[in-house]
Structure formats: structure tokens, C-alpha cells
């Protein structure tokens, strides 16, 4: 008796729910009409010039200090294109991708938005982005452009751009009696200098280079290695070149201890360690310049990142992408191209000391060189000759987490470097299907 009644109410509940569910599923076919890849073709839209079109643009990069810079860019764009209005939505970095994913899946994504390299591949490979065509992007840096191409199609435009340089504490170099780093330094030179600086005191370390995926894919390139084979069909994580690279990084912590281990680092941020004057060198992004200028009471400068058998330098780039369901593909493309490649936008960006624009033509950036420190700002541009492409695959985040985790274990000494790379190789092969 009791049992029967329980069962009944359960079924009733389920039924109601399923009914509701099917009601939700029913009336959506109309929404999908625009789903078939409508890229920015040349519709005959010239006649509508009088009526301004509003497009929405969602970004994270301006959060934390550059909201006004972006607003200035929008104003400049709207003056140039009076028939387009751009509505900006700025969201903090931490949950940007969670909310963007939800909106894309729910069908309420904005007309265009910003993605970082880590997430770009997933969106592009899963068909969430429109190819950007009909605009001139020839002024953009080729490596950066290529990073946002899939199967030869341009799904994203590099909009902000930053690279990594070797930043060093001049005072510590002077005290240790070591010559300052130059563009042709190798990892061996770094090691020598780091050891001499380490000898200055218990609390002073030669270098800080995070032993994570992000550093690793660059350092293996310096040793002639790579994480994937050429056509990205197989992982090559435990190759001899990669092993050599990983060993250099790990030994700096465990063997020569020129780099602090986690306990020695004491939970302090890497930038903070550098700014407290306890680090000789730190390869980090050029976005650190402003903070270091404000926070360091010692002299510092920069050099191109060291190489080994070859040079390889790191860059970070965010791209802007188009929602394939936008009603105004042409206007969106115009805005994205303007944002990424126009000199007007580049000027505003540079003036605010935001990221670099990803432009080929460095003359536009000459004003950038005038600001010091660092004195050797040219190194920022010299580094562009050696940019290494991150191995963009669909499961980028998963791959990078697996590798980072194994490298961290190796850096703690729980497993050997060889084991770390073997395990990372095995796990990546097991969990990730390459095209």
C-alpha cells in the first residue's frame, strides 16, 4: 500500500518534469535557422547606412584596469564607422569562460567576443566560430595570425599581444660580478649566472622559471624538441630533446637549487619575489613592466630569452572571434579588424600601456620604445623573430594540465623526470584523441 503510493507520486513527478522538458525542447527550431555558417559575405547592405547597427562585444582583457582604454577605442571606432554602435561587456577573467560557454550553449552568445589561446581551439574545432573574411588583416603578425587559424581558415584575429623576455636584477648581477645577459645567451649561460647569484645569500636565488606546461613547450623548442609531431597526429612528450629540457629545469630546483623549491618560495608570488630583490632572473611577460617599474627599488633590465640549440621565445595572444549566428557579420568583421589591426586602435593601446597590438609594422610602435625602464626595450621586438607557436589542439587545456601536473611532481622530486614525461605521454595518449 505504502510502496505503491510512493511509486505513484514519483512517477507523477517524473511525468510532469518530462512534459516540461519536451515543452522546452519543442519551440526552438526557429532559433537554429541561422546556424549554417553565415560568414561575413558581401551582403548588399550599403543602403542601410543611415540606420546604425548595434553589435555586442564581450571581453575580459580590459578588466582589472583598462576598461576606459577600451571605451576610448570604441568611441574612436564609432566616429570612423558612424553606422555601427558597439556595446561592450567586460567580465573578470576568472569566470569569463564559464559564462561564455554557458551563453554559447544556451544560444545567447554576443555577436563577437574575446578568447585566449587555451580556449580558442576548443571553440574553433567545435564549430562555434565564424570564419572572418572580407577584411584586410595583412598588417598583423604572421605567427600570431597562424595561431588562430584552423584548417587554413581564420577564425580569430590576434587582438592583444604580449611576449616574454628575460627580466633581470642588475644589482644582483653586479654584486655577483656577472656580465648582464645578452640576446645570444644560452641556458648554460643562465645556469652559470644563476649559480653565482645564488651564492650571494641563503635567501637569494638565481632564477625563477615556473616548471609548468607553459614554460615547458617553449623550453623544449629551445632544445629542438616539441610536444607533438609535425602534423599534430601523435604526442612526442617523452622525446630525448624534451627530456634534456625538462632535466635542465628540474635540476635547477633539486640539484643546483638556483631556483627555490615550493617551501623556499614560501607561498610568495613569483613577481613579488623578484620585486623583493631576491631573484636574479625571471622570464616573464612584458605586461610586468609597469608593475616592476612601480615596485622595484633596484635597477633591472631585459634581454631576449635564452636559447639552447636554437632560440625560442614565448608569446601570449588573445583573439577576437565572431559568433556565426550574428545578424551583422559585416559590421562585426569591421569592428574586429579595426580593433586588431588599425593604427588608431594601436595608438590608444600603446598610449595606455596596455598590451601590444599584434602588428607586423613595428614603426607604429616606436613610441613604445621611448619609455624606460627597461632600457633595452628593443629586446621586446627582437624576441618577435623567435616566437614559438603553442601546440594548439582541441584538448589544449587537458593536455596542459596533465603535463603541468607531471612536471610539478618531478620538480618536487616525487618522480624522476623520465617518469614524469613517460606518464604524461601515456596519459595524454589515453585521454586525448588527436585528429
Amino acid at each position: 500500500m505504502m510502496k505503491k503510493s510512493k511509486l505513484f507520486s514519483l512517477i507523477a513527478l517524473l511525468l510532469t518534469a518530462v512534459l516540461l522538458l519536451s515543452a522546452c525542447g519543442g519551440n526552438n527550431t526557429a532559433n537554429n535557422a541561422g546556424n549554417g555558417g553565415n560568414t561575413a559575405q558581401n551582403d548588399t547592405q550599403g543602403g542601410d547606412a543611415a540606420e546604425p547597427v548595434t553589435i555586442t562585444y564581450c571581453n575580459f582583457n580590459s578588466s582589472g584596469g583598462n576598461e576606459e582604454t577600451l571605451a576610448k577605442m570604441v568611441a574612436a571606432f564609432e566616429t570612423e564607422y558612424p553606422n555601427i554602435k558597439v556595446e561592450v561587456e567586460t567580465i573578470g577573467f576568472d569566470d569569463y569562460f564559464t559564462q561564455m560557454q554557458t551563453r554559447v550553449a544556451g544560444g545567447t552568445a554576443p555577436d563577437c567576443y574575446e578568447l585566449n589561446i587555451e580556449n580558442f581551439a576548443a571553440y574553433a574545432n567545435k564549430g562555434m566560430l565564424a570564419e572572418i573574411t572580407g577584411v584586410d588583416v595583412s598588417g598583423l603578425n604572421d605567427t600570431a595570425l597562424n595561431a588562430f587559424k584552423v584548417d587554413g581558415k581564420q577564425y580569430g584575429l590576434p587582438e592583444s599581444f604580449s611576449n616574454v623576455v628575460l627580466i633581470y636584477n642588475k644589482d644582483l648581477f653586479d654584486q655577483a660580478g656577472v656580465d648582464y645577459p645578452t640576446a645570444d645567451w644560452t641556458q648554460d649561460d643562465v645556469q652559470d649566472a644563476a649559480e653565482k647569484i645564488r651564492a650571494l645569500g641563503d635567501d637569494i636565488f638565481g632564477i625563477w622559471q615556473p616548471i609548468t606546461y607553459n614554460e615547458f613547450f617553449k623550453v623544449v623548442a629551445q632544445y629542438g624538441g616539441a610536444l607533438l609531431n609535425e602534423d599534430k597526429t601523435a604526442f612526442t612528450i617523452n622525446s630525448p630533446e624534451n627530456l634534456e629540457a625538462a632535466t635542465v629545469l628540474v635540476d635547477r630546483v633539486l640539484e643546483s637549487n638556483v631556483q627555490p623549491n615550493a617551501v623556499q618560495q614560501g607561498g610568495m608570488g613569483d613577481w613579488d619575489m623578484f620585486m623583493s630583490g631576491r631573484l636574479g632572473m625571471i622570464p616573464t611577460g612584458i605586461w610586468a613592466f609597469q608593475t616592476f617599474t612601480d615596485g622595484c627599488d633596484f635597477a633591472w633590465d631585459i634581454a631576449v630569452e635564452p636559447g639552447s640549440t636554437q632560440k625560442a621565445t614565448h608569446f601570449f595572444s588573445n583573439c577576437v572571434v565572431m559568433n556565426p549566428e550574428t545578424e551583422h557579420p559585416e559590421e562585426v568583421a569591421a569592428w574586429l579588424a579595426w580593433l586588431a589591426s588599425s593604427t588608431a586602435s594601436a595608438d590608444i593601446r600603446l598610449e595606455a600601456g596596455w598590451d601590444l597590438p599584434a602588428l607586423k609594422d613595428l614603426d607604429a610602435l616606436s613610441s613604445y620604445l621611448e619609455v624606460t625602464p627597461p632600457d633595452n626595450r628593443e629586446a621586446v621586438f627582437e624576441s618577435l623573430d623567435y616566437l614559438v607557436m603553442p601546440p594548439v589542439i582541441e584538448d589544449y587545456a587537458l593536455m596542459s594540465d596533465i603535463i603541468s601536473q607531471k612536471l610539478a611532481a618531478a620538480a618536487e622530486g616525487t618522480i624522476t623526470v623520465q617518469e614524469a614525461l613517460d606518464q604524461a605521454q601515456a596519459e595524454c595518449e589515453a585521454q586525448i584523441k588527436l585528429a
Binding site: L13, L14, T16, A17, V18, L20, L21, C24, G25, N28, T29, N31, N32, N35, F97, T98, Q101, V104, A105, G106, G107, A122, Y123, K126, G127, M128, A262, V263, Q264, G266, G267, M268, E394, D395, A397, L398, D401, Q405, A408, A409, E412, T414
Partner: protein
């Protein structure tokens, strides 16, 4: 009042008709905001959805259906058992500590001393602090070399551990921080139970010459059991859903020692774009929580006293 349970079917006659207006608002909410999304996520768990494709496409299920593959692959990876183990470690450490701390808070706040109002606010401050701020602060307090915690331990000649950076200590450290954060919340819930206790019991005990401790164990604790039961259940559920503090303080490290289930669910769903897998993972978590809660519910008949 006598310790007498009402006859089981006493109000059976009033039944659903009487109850339904009381239940209606929350029932609607239950259906639309909880049950329906839950069922949809159950369906998602049977797919290889990447979390980006349109959920409302008419052929969604046909295109993505993979059956129980997600469940099978989760239950056969060591990662799952690892994170389950870590989650259990947290719960086993957290619940007794938290219960002791919040009973202490409730006891102190129930005493008729001067300045109790101020203490009541102070003990609640950690609850009011956002996890982001609290986690960041504790991270620096627990920093092995320059942190306050090991500094204080050093006064007593104790060499503190590496806390969040030490595989063995990372989870206990997270437990400590969570107890710090939650004791005011649960303490207040227990306090509202304490003040609800009929004063005449204590008066009777006074006449019998019972001491403070006797009164606490013989009167307060038994009559507080409904509140304690609530606290244990809620703490357990929260424990299984442990997430923000881990994300900010350790990110799952060192070496996976603090990887917990919800953290995995989040990563799979929103970083690795394997939403079907994440949904299956959370259904497994859901079932585990239900089993543990059902056990508690059954067990409550032995130690929880309703109806003073």
C-alpha cells in the same frame, strides 16, 4: 510536555488538501529550478556533449548519445577513486572538528555574560568573509617560511610543516581553514537550538543540584540533537561539494593531494569541454551523497530526539 510522539496518522484526514497550499510555492520551484535541470543533466550524462553545442537542438540526443560510457570510464579511472578518497578524508576530519568548534561557539554565546553581543558579531565575521578573500589570507598565513602560523609555532619551538605545500598536510590545512570559516555559521544554528530549550528543564536540574557539565550533557545535548543532526547533514553535503577553497588555496595540488570531486567536475565541464563526462561525474557524486544521507536519516532514529 510529555515525551509522547503524536499517533502516526493523527492528522491523516487533513492530508494533501490541507498541505497543498503550504507546499505549492516550493513545489513549483522544485520542479522548474531543480528537478528539471537535474533530469536534463542526467540526460546529458549519457552523451558526449562538449558543453558548447546547442543543448536545444532537436537531434541533440541522437547526435551525442553514448549510453553509459561516461559512467564506465569514470569508475574505471584511478583519478575518480583518488578524488573520492581525498573528499572522504576532508569530511572525516572536518565534521568532528567543526562540530566541536561550533558547539563551543554555541555554548559560549548562550552564556549570560557581558559583551556577548560583541562576541556574537565577531564569531560570525569569518562566515561573512567571502571565500576568495578568506582563502587568499589563509594562504599567506599558512605560507611555510614567512607565514604567521609557522611564526607562532616557532615561538613554542615547533617546526611547522609546509601546510598547503606538503602532500600530507594540505588537506588538514584546508580542513582547518574551513572549520574557521564555518564554525560561526553552524554555531549560530546550534545556538538557535540552545535558546529554544525550555528553561524549566534547567530550573529542575538546579533544584537537583546538577553542575554545568551535567546540565550540558544531560539536557542541552539531547535536546539539541535535531539541530546537531541538521548541522551534520548539511556539513556532510557541503563537504562532498568542497570546491572554492581548494580552487584558490591549492588548485588541487600538491601532486593531486587535494583534488576533490567538484573540482574535477568543474575542470571537465568548463575547461576540458567534456560536459557529458562532467555530468556523469556529478550524478555519481549525487548518488554517493544520497547514499550517505540516507544512512544518516536511518541512523537518526537512534539519537535524534524530536518533540521535547
Amino acid at each position: 510536555m510529555k515525551n509522547r510522539l503524536p499517533p502516526r496518522r493523527k492528522r491523516g484526514g487533513e492530508g494533501l488538501v490541507t498541505a497543498s497550499p503550504f507546499l505549492l510555492p516550493s513545489l513549483i520551484g522544485l520542479l522548474v529550478f531543480s528537478l528539471l535541470p537535474l533530469i536534463i543533466s542526467g540526460l546529458i550524462s549519457l552523451t558526449d556533449w562538449n558543453g558548447l553545442d546547442r543543448l536545444t537542438d532537436p537531434d541533440f540526443l541522437q547526435d551525442h548519445f553514448v549510453g553509459l560510457a561516461n559512467y564506465k570510464s569514470i569508475l574505471t579511472t584511478p583519478e575518480f577513486w583518488n578524488t573520492l578518497g581525498n573528499t572522504m578524508e576532508y569530511i572525516v576530519l572536518y565534521i568532528p572538528l567543526m562540530l566541536a568548534a561550533s558547539l563551543l561557539v554555541a555554548y559560549l554565546l548562550s552564556r549570560p555574560h557581558r559583551g556577548i553581543g560583541a562576541f556574537r558579531v565577531v564569531y560570525y565575521i569569518p562566515v561573512l568573509t567571502s571565500w576568495v578573500a578568506a582563502s587568499l589570507i589563509w594562504k599567506s598565513v599558512l605560507a611555510p617560511q614567512y607565514g604567521a602560523m609557522n611564526g607562532i609555532l616557532a615561538w613554542f619551538g615547533i617546526q611547522g610543516p609546509g601546510w598547503l605545500l606538503d602532500e600530507a598536510w594540505a588537506m588538514p590545512a584546508i580542513v582547518l581553514v574551513s572549520v574557521w570559516k564555518d564554525m560561526g555559521f553552524f554555531g549560530l544554528i546550534l545556538l538557535s537550538g540552545v535558546v529554544g530549550i525550555n528553561k524549566t528543564y534547567y530550573e529542575a536540574a538546579d533544584i537537583d543540584g546538577a553542575g554545568g557539565w551535567t546540565k550540558f550533557t544531560r539536557i542541552t545535548l539531547p535536546l539539541l540533537t535535531p539541530s546537531i543532526f541538521y548541522v551534520v547533514i548539511v556539513a556532510m553535503i557541503n563537504g562532498f561539494q568542497l570546491f572554492p577553497q581548494v580552487m584558490i588555496m591549492t588548485g588541487g595540488g600538491p601532486n593531486g593531494a587535494t583534488q576533490v570531486m567538484v573540482e574535477r567536475i568543474y575542470q571537465y565541464g568548463f575547461r576540458y569541454y567534456r560536459m557529458g563526462y562532467a555530468a556523469a561525474f556529478s550524478w555519481i557524486l549525487f548518488v554517493i551523497i544520497m547514499v550517505f544521507t540516507a544512512i544518516q536519516m536511518k541512523g537518526q532514529e537512534r539519537w535524534v530526539h524530536y518533540d521535547s
